[in-house]
Structures are given as C-alpha cells and as structure tokens.
C-alpha cells in the first residue's frame, strides 16, 4: 500500500466575493512509498510549498483526494488531522520556527506535550534526539543564542522526536551557509536511512539531488517524476545517533 496517494489535487486561492482566483495547484497526482527520500523541486511560485503543506496536512486541497495509508483525509476533522500530524508527521521549515522564548530542550519537547507523557519521559525522548543532532551541549540555551545551522538542527530534532513516519522539510537549507546546509542534509539522509520517509521541497537542484526520487513541478503541474540515479551524499559532520 502507498504511504501517501494524491489524486487530482487542486488548490485555489481567492477572496470570497472577488472574481480573482489564483490556481496554485492544477491537478496533481502521485504516490509516495514508505522509506523514500522524495525531493519536490520547482522555481518559486510553482506551488511546491503549497503542495508540501497539503501533503503535510497543514492545509486542505480545494479538490482532489488525499489518502494517507489508504485513509481518505478529507473526511477527517481538524482535530483528527492535528492528532495525525502529531503522530505521523514532522516538519522542518526554512525559517526554523522555533519558539523564541523557550529553551532548546523545551522546543524539542513541544510535540510531546500534546501526547500526554510524563515530564521525565518527555525529556528523555527529547534528549535522545537532541543528542542525535549533536546539540546536547545547548539544551538550556534560547534559540537566539544559536547559529542558524544549530537552530535548524534543533528544529530537526523537534521534527522527529515523535518518531513520525514522514518528515517534511521546506527549503531546510535556504537560510544556512553551505557547511551548515551540508550538516542538515546529512542528518536528513541519516533519518531516511533509519526508515523515516523524507519529503524535501527546494528550488535548488543541488539540494534536491540528495534524495532518491525527484518530482519537478512548474506552474501547479508535475513536469517530471524520476528516480535520482547519482544521488549526492552529504558530508557527515554530525554523526546521527542510533
């Protein structure tokens, strides 16, 4: 069974009462298999981020069907989607989206606080993933005391602290220097290696080629969908814990 299957997904933006509608996605159909590292590539404005938000259950399509493990997600309530995100999905954003006024540890604990574990268990799990991204020396720091690369590593730790099946990364290296970018890509590849499905959205082909499969998207439609033959492997500076 496909992990995710999209059928004729469209997304329109428009103000109610106004005639102007923007068609961002114009009928997108594809599947994602468990264990893939899928890169979705396209120029800005192509609809790739919108597509990722829909696959990531952050947004709903205007039309079309989205099956997650065979279940039609359009039938689910907002709260059911929230729980599904909590259990199945981790996000990494270009701008990190760490909460500014809480520590590294508390940021990583955040998804767990909606699970209902004991505080000790929460911290144990969080420390494990923080160690995995090599940030254990910074657990009590505030996000603004970290470099961009460090912040993104914390954000990655947060993304997989719940042990989700899929990790979505939206331009995760976009705000980073190349060395930090390499580290981030290395961690993503390692996570993929450990069995997490990774969906990466980027406009840089060099970044996209770290994946196992590439979908090129342009103007809301899929241009091509091919496996990546000569996959790039990122430098491993931060060894990922097992």
């Amino acid at each position: 069974m496909d992990l995710i299957r999209l059928e004729q997904i469209t997304k329109n933006y428009g103000n109610p009462g106004s005639d102007i509608t923007t068609h961002v996605l114009k009928g997108v159909t594809f599947s994602i298999q468990e264990g893939e590292f899928l890169s979705i590539m396209g120029p800005s404005g192509s609809g790739k981020s919108t597509l990722m938000h829909i696959i990531g259950l952050l947004d709903r399509p205007t039309s079309g069907k989205y099956f997650l493990r065979g279940e039609d997600t359009s039938q689910l309530s907002d709260d059911q989607l929230a729980r599904l995100r909590n259990k199945e999905i981790g996000f990494i954003f270009q701008s990190f989206n760490l909460l500014p006024r809480i520590s590294v540890l508390e940021n990583v604990v955040l998804p767990l606080s909606y699970v209902g574990l004991s505080q000790a268990k929460e911290e144990e799990l969080a420390l494990k993933v923080i160690r995995a991204v090599g940030m254990e020396h910074r657990i009590n720091n505030m996000p603004n005391q970290l470099s961009g690369g460090e912040q993104q590593r914390v954000a990655i730790a947060r993304a997989f602290v719940n042990n989700p099946s899929i990790i979505f990364a939206d331009e995760p290296t976009g705000n980073l220097d190349s060395k930090s970018g390499q580290q981030v890509m290395s961690i993503l590849q390692e996570l993929n290696h450990q069995g997490h499905t990774v969906v990466l959205v980027t406009h840089e082909s060099a970044t996209a080629e770290h994946g196992t499969r590439m979908i090129k998207i342009h103007d809301g439609k899929i241009l091509s969908d091919e496996p990546i033959i000569n996959r790039l492997l990122a430098d491993r500076e931060g060894e990922l814990g097992k």
Binding site: L58, D59, A82
Partner: protein, 418 residues
C-alpha cells in the same frame, strides 16, 4: 492524548514564564483595576460610616436650634462665611429654650451648647482643651455615659458652680493614671472641681466628645467667656414622627421670643435630624457617585491596558499557535492554553490588587482617622472586590480568548505565515 489537566497547566505555565514582561503587564492592568475599585469604594464606605456615627451619637429624636445670619438660608455659604468671619449672633438664650419646652407640647427637655477653647492645667500638665457649656440633660440626650462620679446637675447650673466633667481623653491627658475625681484643675486662673469622667465614646464624626470638658452652661457664660448667649439648643422630642410639625411650632415660639414677624429675618435655624439626614444622604450620594465614576474610569483604563496587551500578544503569538498546531495541538489545546493563561493572570492580578487595595485602605483609614482625630473605619466590601475582579477577569478573558479563538481556528499554515 493530552487529556491531562496538569499537562495543560504546564504548557500555560511555560508560556507565561517565557513571556514574563507581557505577563507582568497584563497582571498590572488587572492590579490597577481591582486596586482602584477597592480603595475608592473603601473611602466611600468609610465616609458614610463616619457620618452615620455622628448622627447616631446625637440620636434622631432631637431638633436643633442654631444661630443663623438673618436673610440667609441656613445651609447657604453666606450664613457659614458670615459667622466664620466673626459675626456672632448673640440672641440665642437659655430662656428661649425654657419658653419652647413650656409651649411646645412635643418637647420635654433640652440642653444648650456653647463652645470655647481654653488652657486647662493640673499641677504641671497644661493642655489646650475644648470646653462645652451645657446642662444636666446633655448626658441623658446623647449616647454619652458616666464612667465615674456624676454628670453636671441642675444645681450646678443654677449655682454657677465651678465644676467640670472630663472626657476620657482629657482625663488621660491631664491625669494619666492618677485618680481625677475630686481633684481641682485650673481654667483661666480659677480652680474647678472634677465631679465626673465620661466613658470613652470614640470619635463621633467631626467632633470627638472624649476630648471635651463639660462645664455648666451658666459657669461657662459668666465665669469663663463673659457672655449671656448660647450657640445651639438641642430639644428632645416625645414623638419623633411629629418632628416636622414640632419644628414649625418651635420656630413660632422662637420668633415670639425674638420679636420677629418676617421669617426672612430669622436669626435662628431649626433643624430636624430628618433634614440633616437628607442633606447627608445627598452629600454621600454625590460623593459615592463621584468616586464610582473615578473607579469606573480606572477600570476602563485597566481594561484597555489588558485589552491592548492581550490583542498584541495573541497577534504576536499567531505563529506560535500555527507551530503548535503543526506539531499536533488541537483547537481545544490552544484554547485551553489561552484560557488557563488568562485565568492565571487574572487571578494573580486580582489577588495582588486586593492585597494592595486593602493595604492602602488600611493605611488611608489610619491617616484619615488621625487627621480627623478619631477613627475612620476600614471597610472593604465584598462587592467591591467582586466588581473589580469580575470586570478585570471579563476584560482579560474576552480580549485574550476571542483573538486566540480566532487564531486557533486558522489552518496551521495560515497561522504560520502570519
């Protein structure tokens, strides 16, 4: 999944601690609101109590006749200022009172009053004291009671005797713990025998009977002040319900005594306690209204402050809400977080506000009491606490939760993009 209240509390606690400045500002808004309401209403209540106590001391079964400047109204400022500037009306006499009690059936006794300040001394102690020249009825008609010895008698009055009855504070000032009864004190170079000491009364509004020395009215007039008039006469009524008619009868007798035909030329004023009560009620009503307006204003100011901070904070936190939703928070989780945050802030602000308000009221009542030479009661009404709390809480909840609810209703991506 996240069913546990402790988890919810924990999330809110972390968020509050993480946003210290904002939390403190919100609390401050509530503190100001609750604080002001408590203080303002406490002052109002204290004032009412203060005035009512004065009325209570004199009783309500009396009618007062006071001197008045002719051609002025008795409550007018020209009457008050003319007398204050030194125009003394010298026409009110004890004989007028005798005539009233004889002719007006509803009156059965009276006491006259004339006041003056003199130095009194006992051995080496010298004190400035307030003398009150009156007769035997004063003790019967007011709430004052004798602690030791006797009050002034009819014979003391007739005989111009040099005897005094001391208020409890005067006794303490002059004699300390020594016995006072039978001792001689000096006023204007003459010796006066202490025949009695009054029980402690406590301050009765604007005057304090504990600080007075009672002297027979005749002694006061002839030996101390060298005059033959009084400034006030207080009549006792047999039937209080007839106060209005009796007041008219008294005025008639007074005009006869003073040979006045035109009521405008009255050199006296007749006051029933009912009238006094009406005046006091309207004054207190006005003051309460004014204080209420001040309290309302400060509540509005506090409320606007809370509203501002809440609106800004929710807007500022829309991204946070988006992120929380992205990592799995449901709409309810977000709402609970904001409700708990608002409740915690409101409670904290309310408790601090009540505490500070009570503290200032306490300090205020102490100093006002001292300034007025008596006690100003500390009254913190439950309703004022509830009112302050309620308004602040509602403001906090409405302006905190409404925007949070809106933000919680956004899709995570809309919230994240903001």
């Amino acid at each position: 999944m996240f069913r546990n209240f402790k988890d919810k509390l924990n999330i809110s606690r972390k968020a509050l601690v993480a946003n210290k400045a904002r939390s403190i500002l919100t609390i401050l808004g509530i503190v100001i609101g609750v604080f002001t309401v408590i203080v303002v209403l406490s002052i109002g209540e204290g004032f009412r109590f203060f005035v009512l106590k004065q009325i209570e001391f004199f009783g309500n079964d009396i009618i007062q006749v006071e001197t008045k400047v002719p051609n002025t109204s008795k409550t007018s400022s020209s009457n008050a200022t003319t007398q204050a500037l030194g125009a003394t009306i010298i026409t009110l006499k004890s004989e007028d009172a005798e005539a009233v009690v004889r002719q007006v059936a509803n009156t059965d006794m009276y006491y006259p009053g004339i006041m003056g300040q003199e130095l009194a001394s006992y051995r080496s102690e010298i004190k400035k004291v307030l003398l009150f020249g009156t007769n035997a009825n004063a003790a019967k008609m007011t709430k004052g009671g004798i602690e030791e010895g006797d009050f002034l008698s009819k014979e003391d009055e007739i005989g111009n005797r040099r005897v005094v009855v001391l208020g409890s504070e005067v006794r303490d000032d002059l004699f300390g713990i020594q016995p006072a009864l039978g001792e001689l004190i000096k006023i204007k170079g003459q010796s006066y025998k202490v025949i009695g000491v009054m029980k402690k009364q406590g301050n009765a509004g604007f005057f304090n009977p504990d600080k007075e020395i009672y002297v027979p009215v005749t002694t006061m007039q002839k030996q101390i002040m060298g005059i033959d008039y009084v400034t006030i006469i207080v009549f006792h009524l047999k039937d209080v319900s007839l106060a209005q008619e009796t007041a008219k009868d008294i005025a008639l007798v007074m005009r006869q005594q003073h040979q006045i035909t035109n009521p405008d030329k009255d050199d006296f004023a007749v006051n029933t306690m009912e009238e006094a009560q009406t005046i006091i009620d309207s004054v207190i009503g006005g003051i309460t209204l004014l204080l209420g307006a001040v309290a309302a204003l400060s509540l509005i100011v506090g409320g606007v402050g809370i509203m501002n901070i809440m609106l800004v904070s929710v807007r500022e936190r829309t991204r946070e809400i988006g992120l929380r939703k992205a990592v799995g928070a449901t709409k309810k989780d977000i709402l609970y977080q904001f409700v708990i945050e608002a409740v915690v802030l409101t409670l904290a602000g309310g408790i601090i506000g009540i505490f500070l308000g009570a503290l200032l009221s306490l300090i205020g009542s102490f100093f006002i009491g001292r300034a007025l030479g008596g006690s100003w009661p500390l009254t913190i009404s439950v309703s004022s606490v509830l009112l302050g709390f309620f308004v602040s809480a509602v403001t906090g909840l409405v302006f905190g939760i409404y925007p949070a609810k809106k933000a919680a209703g956004l899709t995570p991506i809309e919230a994240l993009r903001s």
